[in-house]
């Protein structure tokens, strides 16, 4: 559903506020499909905020954006889709090690996508964000 909307109506992401409304709708829908998801996202947010020089903001295309050292680490959409930016080299290393995929839109960039569904996914999401944090700190 998310992929279909992004593919066919992705151009609407430039309409002010619309991505945020869509993200709120995703959160509402997720309540019925995976009621623990919003708690997982809250836990990830709390963990990232416990690291030095981090903060969160609203992602321009909807979702929670994690920042460190005034740069974006990644963001989570309301349906639990985590997007993280790595260098191309690190992306390939991580894709061999973890069940992560090319970014759902920018497949040839350093971005990766990972769908959070379970507690173990939450732990992996934190691990990946930590890797991006260390990359940005080095």
């Amino acid at each position: 559903m998310f992929d279909w909307i992004v593919t066919h109506f992705g151009f609407l992401k430039h309409v002010p506020l619309l991505p945020h409304v869509f993200d709120a709708w995703l959160k509402l829908v997720s309540l019925f499909t995976n009621k623990n998801l919003s708690d997982y996202i809250d836990d990830i947010e709390a963990e990232v905020l416990s690291w030095q020089h981090t903060d969160v903001s609203a992602h321009k295309y909807g979702g929670v954006q994690f920042n460190a050292f005034n740069r974006e680490l990644g963001h989570i959409h309301g349906n639990g889709l985590l997007d993280i930016l790595f260098s191309q080299t690190q992306k390939l290393v991580l894709m061999n090690r973890y069940p992560i995929q090319h970014h759902h839109v920018f497949k040839h960039s350093g971005w990766v996508s990972f769908k959070i569904k379970t507690v173990s996914d939450k732990k992996l999401a934190i691990e990946l964000l930590r890797a991006a944090y260390i990359q940005n700190n080095s």
Partner: protein, 315 residues
């Protein structure tokens, strides 16, 4: 949620109450100001609901609630739950103070919940950054949009058209188009099942252009109509002279004109085309048109299916 302290409950309730109070003032003021500005163009509506009433105001409601809630560090799930409570309070307030009907509130609630939640979650993030200049700029921007929307033109006339093939010759179909016996078909459309009035019967005063026609609905409401085109076996067009003032959807929509066009298919069957023109007084049009089209379409289909059954019985 049971682990909240008394102070936390106070903040949560204040967030809901203040947000709703501001919403009632803004919606009430904009509704009557727009109706006043639109003058005669406001038609028979009890007031125009601009898109800001259902978008900007809920966004502000969410932002106001989040202002009270953010020091409590609530989870997202709590934001969703309390935003739903705030939407329920807004619906109850609309029912009591704005005299809205229950079905109208069922239609509008998903829109309000989605935008209230968007406002609350966005504001939560903004408040965390403790940027008061940004906070006041966003609030100012929202109020500016509300004002600009209030003083903009609000005109939304739409046509809904439906077609049905009747397995009967045109001269058999025509009399049932002009007037028809009470509809006994079971209600299949969910809004009719939950209490929205559905069409039951149509009667006429005469068989010529200029004659009166009445469309009677299930709750006894009557639409008074005047036939302006009466071409047997071809076209019946009627203007709606008066419609009931029901607090439900009827208060926010004017049905302007109805039309039936009949076409002989040359094989003993007839194509019946039903057209209705209406004017909406609730915005955003893209959302409410989805509902009004669906309702109008189901009114058409209920009548046209009835015409089909009556006509085919006589073949």
């Amino acid at each position: 949620m049971s682990s909240y302290t008394r102070n936390a409950y106070t903040r949560i309730l204040l967030g809901i109450l203040v947000a709703n109070l501001v919403a009632i003032i803004l919606v009430g003021a904009s509704k009557y100001l727009v109706t006043y500005l639109e003058g005669n163009h406001a038609g028979n509506s009890s007031g125009v609901f601009i898109f800001s009433s259902f978008i900007v105001v809920p966004l502000l409601m969410g932002a106001i609630s989040a202002w009270y809630w953010h020091p409590l560090q609530l989870k997202t799930l709590a934001y969703i739950g309390w935003s739903a409570v705030s939407t329920l309070v807004a619906s109850a307030a609309s029912f009591i103070f704005l005299k809205e009907g229950a079905i109208c509130l069922i239609i509008v609630s998903p829109l309000i919940l989605c935008f209230t939640l968007t406002g609350a979650l966005l504001a939560r993030t903004v408040y965390r950054r403790k940027n008061n200049t940004l906070n006041s700029s966003l609030a100012g921007l929202a109020l500016l949009v509300l004002l600009a929307d209030t003083f903009s033109s609000h005109e939304n006339v739409r046509l809904v058209s439906d077609t049905l093939i009747v397995n009967a010759p045109i001269e058999t179909v025509w009399p049932h188009v002009v007037e028809y016996k009470p509809i006994t078909l079971e209600e299949t459309y969910w809004l009719f099942q939950v209490g929205m009035p559905s069409p039951v019967q149509s009667t006429v005063d005469g068989y010529e252009a200029g004659a009166g026609r009445k469309c009677i609905f299930s709750n006894g409401y009557v639409f008074d109509e005047k036939m302006i085109v009466y071409k047997p076996n071809e076209e019946l067009t009627f203007d709606i002279l008066s419609q009931p003032h029901d607090p439900e959807i009827m208060g926010h929509i004017d049905i302007l004109r109805g039309q039936f066009i009949l076409k002989d298919n040359g094989n003993g069957t007839t194509t019946v085309i039903g057209n209705s023109w209406y004017k909406l007084y609730v915005f955003p049009g893209w959302y409410f048109n989805l509902w009004s089209e669906s309702i109008t379409r189901n009114v058409h289909l209920r009548v046209m299916e009835h015409i089909k059954i009556l006509s085919e019985k006589n073949v």
